[in-house]
Structure formats: C-alpha cells, structure tokens
Amino acid sequence: MIRALASLAFLAATGAPAALDPQAEARAQALDGEIRCVVCENEPISQSTASIAADMRALVRERIAAGDTDAQIRAFFADRYGDFVLLRPRASSLTWPLWAAPLLLLLLGGLAAAPLLRRRASGAGEADPAPDPEDDR
C-alpha cells in the first residue's frame, strides 16, 4: 500500500502521461469502469471525483502506454490494492462458485421444469384448446 501511494505520488509529481490514441483511450475507459475507487462508497474510478481515483485513472493510462494487456493491468491493480478493487472478480479457487452459480442454477431450473413438460398430449384426457376468456374481457 505504501509503495503504491509512493508510486502515485511520483506519478502526480511527474504529471499525467501523454494522451493516448482514441482506441487506447477507449480501452482505458473500459478498465476505469472495472476498477473500484479505494476510498469511495462502491464507485468505479471512472465515476469518482476523489483525487485518488484521478491518480488511479492516470495509472491505468500509464500501464496502457507501457504496453500492458488488460489482464496485466487488472493483475497490477489487484496486486497493489487487493482483489477488492476488481469489480470483475478474478476466477480463482475462491470465486469459481460465484462464476459457476448462474450455470448451475440454470441446470437446476431445467431439471426442475423438465418433468412438467411433456412432448405431446397424452390423448383422450386433453380437452381442446379453450378460448381465452381473460384476453377477451
């Protein structure tokens, strides 16, 4: 943490890095939306007006200018500030249940619904499709 702050102080002293080309800037803005401001109440650095968020935005651009990939930049921030700053949680032994949950739920829902649905009418017992009284009300 202290090293991170020191590096931010250094960055602030040397000024913001040179402007990026539009494509890189778009990348930077997308990353800004995925990194959480460390002093705010659940805000990404793209939204925050805190000065540390401005410093973190500058840091994103610095890493992009240095040629880092998006994954490297995410890892860079997670190493400095902890996984807490990543609004897109990294897949790991701790987070796989989270990422697997929607698929598991969908599977569970499908299994629960399957017995209800039959392929075809069982024949004599079914009445003809009735008109829809509610729709006509």
Binding site: E34, L87, L94, L98, A101, P102, A113, L117, S122, D135
Partner: protein, 653 residues
C-alpha cells in the same frame, strides 16, 4: 423548541397501541380462520382497519415534528434543519432509518386494512387467515421499530440546530422514490400472507390464485415505479451519467421485483390451469423474504451506501431474526403442507403454460444470480476474511445472457394457446420479427460498427418489440380494430413492449456511451460527440440551504446550465447536471471543481457524456409500470364483477 411537550410521547403511545391492535388482529384473524367464524373474521378486519388509522396518526405526528423542527426529538435533529425547504422537511420524515421503519409499519398496516376492505372472491377462512398473518407481519415490524429504532426518542438537552438531511436526498424524485419502493417491498407481504393462509388451509385452487394476482400486481407495479424513479434520480443527480450500478442496494430492490414478475406469471397458470400451485406459494414466500433481505442489507450496516442510514449491529441482528422467522417459518410450513397440494401430470411442451414455466425458470435463475452475486462478497469475507468486489462486469456477463434467453421466448408465449399451442403458426407470424431483429443487428454491426454482443442485445430488444406489435396485429385482425382491443391485452402489450424498449436503451447506452473529462476556461470551446460545447461563464448562486456555482454552457446553439452545490450544514457537495435530450440520446454535462487540473486556477473540470438512447430505458420502465397499472384496472373491474358470482358459490357460514 417551543413545541408542546407531549407530542412525541403521543406518537410513541399510538405506536404501542398499534402494536397491541396488530397482535389482536393476528390472533383474531388466525383463530377466525381456524373456526371459520364470521363474527371473529369481521372483528379481525375491523381491527386491521383501525390499526392502520392509528399508525397513520403516529406517522402524521412524526411529520409534524419535522415540520416544526422539534430538535428535542433525536431523529429530527439528526436529519433536519430549519433552513430546509418544506418538501424536504416532509421527505426527511422517511429519509432516515427510524422514520422509514415507521413508514414500513404504516404501509404494512395499510395493506392489512386494504385486505380487510377488499375481500373479493376469497373464502371467509382464507380471508381472515390472511388478515391474521398480515397482522403478525405488522406487529413484528412495529415491535422492532418501537424497541430498537423509535422515531420518537427525545434528546436532553435539545440542541438548537439540526444536522440536515443528506443533501443527495434533497430532490423531488427522492421525496417519492422511498415511499413508492416501500409500498412495493411491503406490498410483497400480502402475497406472503395469502400464501401462508393457503398453506394453513391446505387447499389451493383457482380462486386463491385469482385473489393473489391483484396484490402481486400492485406490489410489482409499485416496485417498478420506485426502482425507475431511483434509477432516474441516480442518472440526473449523481453526475456520472449512469443509471444502474448493480450496487447491493439496487440489487436489494431488484430481487423482489424479479420474484414478483415471476409470481405474476405463475399465478396466471395456477388460476387458469390449477397448476404450479406449490411453486407459486414458494415464490410468494421467497419474494417477501427477498424484500426483508433488502431491508436487512440496507439497514444492518453490512453495506456502506447512500441508503445505509443505520449502522447498528443490534438492529441488524433483529432484522436477521425477523427474516429467519418469516422465511424459515414459511418454508417449514411449506415443506409440511406443500406435498399435499395436488399437481396435475404436466403440460404439453408447446403450450402457453410451458412458456410460462420457461419464463419462471428464467426469472428465478436471474433472481438467484443477482442474489448470489450480491451476497457472495459478504459470505466470502465472513468465511475467509478475503475482500472481493462483485460489480457491473459480473452482472452484465451473467444476467445479460439469461435475460436474452428469457426475451427470446417472450413474444412467442402470447401467441401460443393454453393446453396446446401451434409453434408453426406462431412462427408464420414471428418470422417478420426475426427479420426486423436481424436487420437491427446488421445495422449495429455494419453501420454503427458496434461489438457483436451489442448487436445481439439490440436484436433481442427489437425481436420483443416487433413480436409484441405482431401480436397486437393478430389480435386485432385489422388496423381499424386495434383501438377496440380489450384493456387486458393493452396491459400485457405495454409491459412487454416496455421490456423491449428498455433492452434496446440499456444495450445502446452501455455499449455506445461516450465520456470525456476536460479542463475548461470560461469562454473556451471543445468538441465532443460531434457538438461544440462552450463554457460561457460561471456565476455564484445562493439557494435556500446551499450555495452553488452555476456554469452556463452553450451546446451548438442551445443553452444548458450545470451546477455544483455545496450544503454548508452537512459539508457535502452535490452536482446538478445539465441534460440536452434528443432523439439519438442525451448530451449530459456535469460541472466538476475548479483549479484542480494542470491548466490553471481559472479552469474548471467539466465532465461530458453522450448517452445514446438512454431515455428508452426510462420510457421502457415507465411503460412496464403503465402496463401494471392497466392490469390493476382490469383485475379491479373483474373483482367488482366477481363477488356476486362468488357469493352464490360460498356456502353461508
């Protein structure tokens, strides 16, 4: 202050009285249901109505304490100030933990009174049991308010000034958003009461589902309105151009909404086919559980957010105990009684009811995903001490495809008949919607050059919208007869079309928004999103309880102003953004602070956004709410027509 000395005490007395009355209502109602006794049932109904009036009195007293700025009352001191405008003195009543809990009680009692007044086609025992359960819900909420967060607690000595309402909340939309959301949250207690009452009865039939639907629709419509207002408020007040952040507090209101939406559809199947009864009951219990969970998350201090007024672990435990009591008790009763509910053998795969099952699977999985995403960081921290964040990227990746799956089936369902549908016939109509969706995708990919997922998302929205239009066309048969379609059709059409418009707006805004932060000197012009923005000047302005810097801008040839306000009492700055709405989207300007950049002390930070089609999000959500309101009219009409028919069916007690 000079207010008479007993007002707050009178409020506390009325609250205690309401507690006793709600307990009596609970006992009377449940006993009346058990004995099927008409006189006891009438007594329970009367008690419910009186309890609501008593709570209304208590709430009126709290409002009057705020209006008179009686700083001997702790909650007034903490949340009000003499210089605050009248509207926000009133809104301050519920803009804090204690007052909002009193509102919770009032709303719960009001729903009990409504249930007591509008019996509709319910059998007497179901009706009185539901009133009884609703009485227990109200009583527990009042006990919590009275003993753990009383709004009538005094301060001694009384301070001379108050600490003011959180300035972010001093906004007209925020005066209405919380009560509407509360009506929605607490409204979910009525389906819960009806579900518990039905489990006590051990019998669920079409009449029960018919009784359930208007209450569910009422809660859903109010949740829709409350969430939409909150989102719109975030959009124009928080100054970052966004409208939804998947914040745990937003999720807390969204989960009951999803449960209510699923319940609306499953109740239709239960009413029309006498099927899915157990599932409908389960949804009603879970829906109220999620509403309570929302209260717990917001009020226990486990989250930090603009909504988290109370940071008191004792309160958190109490709400958690309440949640366990209602959900745990409800589920136990469910496990005991639900197996007795008869389920028919099944549905034909291609039928309206199968489509409704698909709808419920989709909504329930979406609800579960939001629930797990919201609770996972809390659980992980509790179990391992590791802090992680689950934010918008996770929800966009998981929730988006689930909704796409759901919306893929949406236009098909109304075209399928009950019992046995005709998929080929539906496709004969819907292939036009598929063409429209494919066309939209091509436009997004080839002309706008958007990413693949944006093309897919917009295509899904167009598919829903075109599918709904084709349904209208089919039902009417000709253009001339469109206006003569029954209101029930329009209710469904409005809600579904709203979902389609919302999808288009949400995908367009998320994938094509532009933003830029610039340092501007007065007189300077920058070009953004194809427009020339000039900062004309910045002038100071004094409001009733704040001082502001107003930036006057010119965007091409139109004037816009954006403000930065400073509330002296609470020491908080807020933004008032300037928005130019156009057909293609909103041009959105937020004024930052002066002299923080490298340009010099005269320069102001200005944040510029272009949010394409963002108004569709709010129009779509509003249309869903309108659909709900129209549906309520339809169900109310039917209910007025029903009692005569039902009265002859129910044997005299």
């Amino acid at each position: 202050m000079e207010g008479d000395a007993v007002t707050a005490e009178l409020g506390a007395f009325l609250l205690s009285l309401a507690l006793a009355m709600s307990l009596a209502q609970g006992a009377l109602g449940i006993f009346a249901g058990w004995r099927n006794d008409a006189r006891l049932a009438a007594a329970a109904a009367g008690t419910a109505q009186s309890a609501a009036l008593v709570l209304l009195g208590a709430f009126a007293i709290l409002i009057s304490l705020f209006l008179r700025s009686d700083f001997s009352v702790a909650v007034v001191t903490a949340n009000s100030h003499v210089a605050k405008p009248l509207l926000y003195k009133i809104a301050g009543t519920w803009g804090n933990h204690e007052g909002s809990m009193l509102l919770w009680c009032l709303v719960s009692a009001t729903f009990a009174a409504l249930l007591a007044t509008f019996r509709g086609a319910m059998t007497q025992s179901l009706w009185s049991r539901a009133i009884g359960v609703q009485g227990v819900v109200t009583a527990i909420a009042i006990a919590y308010t009275l003993f753990l967060s009383s709004p009538f607690a005094r301060l001694d000595p009384a301070p001379l000034v108050g600490r003011d309402l959180n300035p972010l909340l001093q906004d007209p939309a925020l005066a209405i958003h919380p009560p509407l959301l509360y009506f929605g949250y607490v409204g979910m207690s009525v389906p819960f009461s009806l579900a518990i009452a039905a489990l006590m009865e051990g019998k669920i039939d079409a009449a029960w589902a018919r009784a359930l639907r208007p209450w569910t629709l009422l809660a859903w419509t109010m949740l829709t309105g409350g969430i939409t207002l909150g989102s719109y408020w975030a959009y124009y007040e928080l100054g970052w151009g966004g409208w939804w952040f998947w914040d745990p507090v937003e999720n807390a209101s969204f989960m009951p909404w999803l449960a209510a939406a699923a319940l609306l559809h499953s109740a239709i199947v239960t009413e029309r086919r006498g099927s899915l009864a157990a599932w409908t009951i389960l949804l009603a219990i879970v829906g109220f559980g999620l509403a309570l969970l929302g209260t717990f998350l917001v009020r226990s201090g486990v989250l930090t957010s603009v909504h988290a007024f109370a940071v008191d672990p004792k309160r958190g435990y109490a709400i958690l105990a309440m949640l366990s009591f209602f959900v745990g008790g409800g589920l136990m009763l469910y496990a005991w009684r639900a197996p007795r509910l008869s389920e028919p053998s099944g549905f034909v795969l291609v039928s309206r009811e199968s489509a409704m099952v698909l709808n419920n699977v989709g909504l329930a999985v979406a609800m579960g995903t939001v629930l797990i995403g919201t609770l996972y960081p809390l659980l992980l921290e509790a179990l391992t001490g590791r802090l992680i964040s689950v934010g918008p990227p996770f929800f966009n990746i998981t929730f988006g495809p689930l909704m796409a799956l759901l919306f893929f089936a949406l236009p098909v369902a109304p075209l399928l008949a009950w019992r046995r549908g005709d998929l080929v016939g539906a496709w004969r109509l819907l292939h036009w919607a598929a063409f429209a969706a494919a066309g939209a995708a091509v436009v997004v990919l080839a002309i706008v050059r958007g990413p693949l997922w944006a093309a897919f998302g917009i295509a899904v929205g167009v598919w829903v919208l075109a599918g709904v239009a084709l349904y209208v066309w089919k039902r009417a048969g000709s253009f001339g007869r469109v206006a003569a379609l029954p209101l029930a059709v329009w209710a469904m059409v409005a809600a579904h079309a709203g979902a389609g418009l919302f999808t288009i707006g949400a995908v367009a805004e998320t994938s094509f928004r532009k933003e830029q932060s610039v340092q501007m000197l007065p007189g300077q012009t920058v070009t953004f999103a194809g427009r020339n923005v000039t900062l004309l000047d910045i002038t100071p302005r004094e409001g009733p309880n704040y001082s502001a810097q107003r930036g006057a801008f010119r965007v091409d040839d139109r004037a816009v102003s954006a403000e930065r306000r400073f509330y002296a009492v609470s020491g908080m700055p807020t933004t008032e953004v300037g928005i130019l709405s156009g057909f293609a989207g909103d041009f959105y300007i937020a004024l930052g602070s002066p002299g923080e950049g490298t340009v010099g002390p005269q320069a102001w930070t200005v944040r510029l956004y272009f949010n394409p089609l963002v108004q569709l999000i709010f129009i779509g959500a509003g249309l869903m709410g309108l659909g709900g309101a129209l549906g309520l009219v339809v169900l109310a009409r039917r209910r007025l027509a029903a009692p005569a028919a039902a009265a002859s069916a129910v044997p005299a007690a």
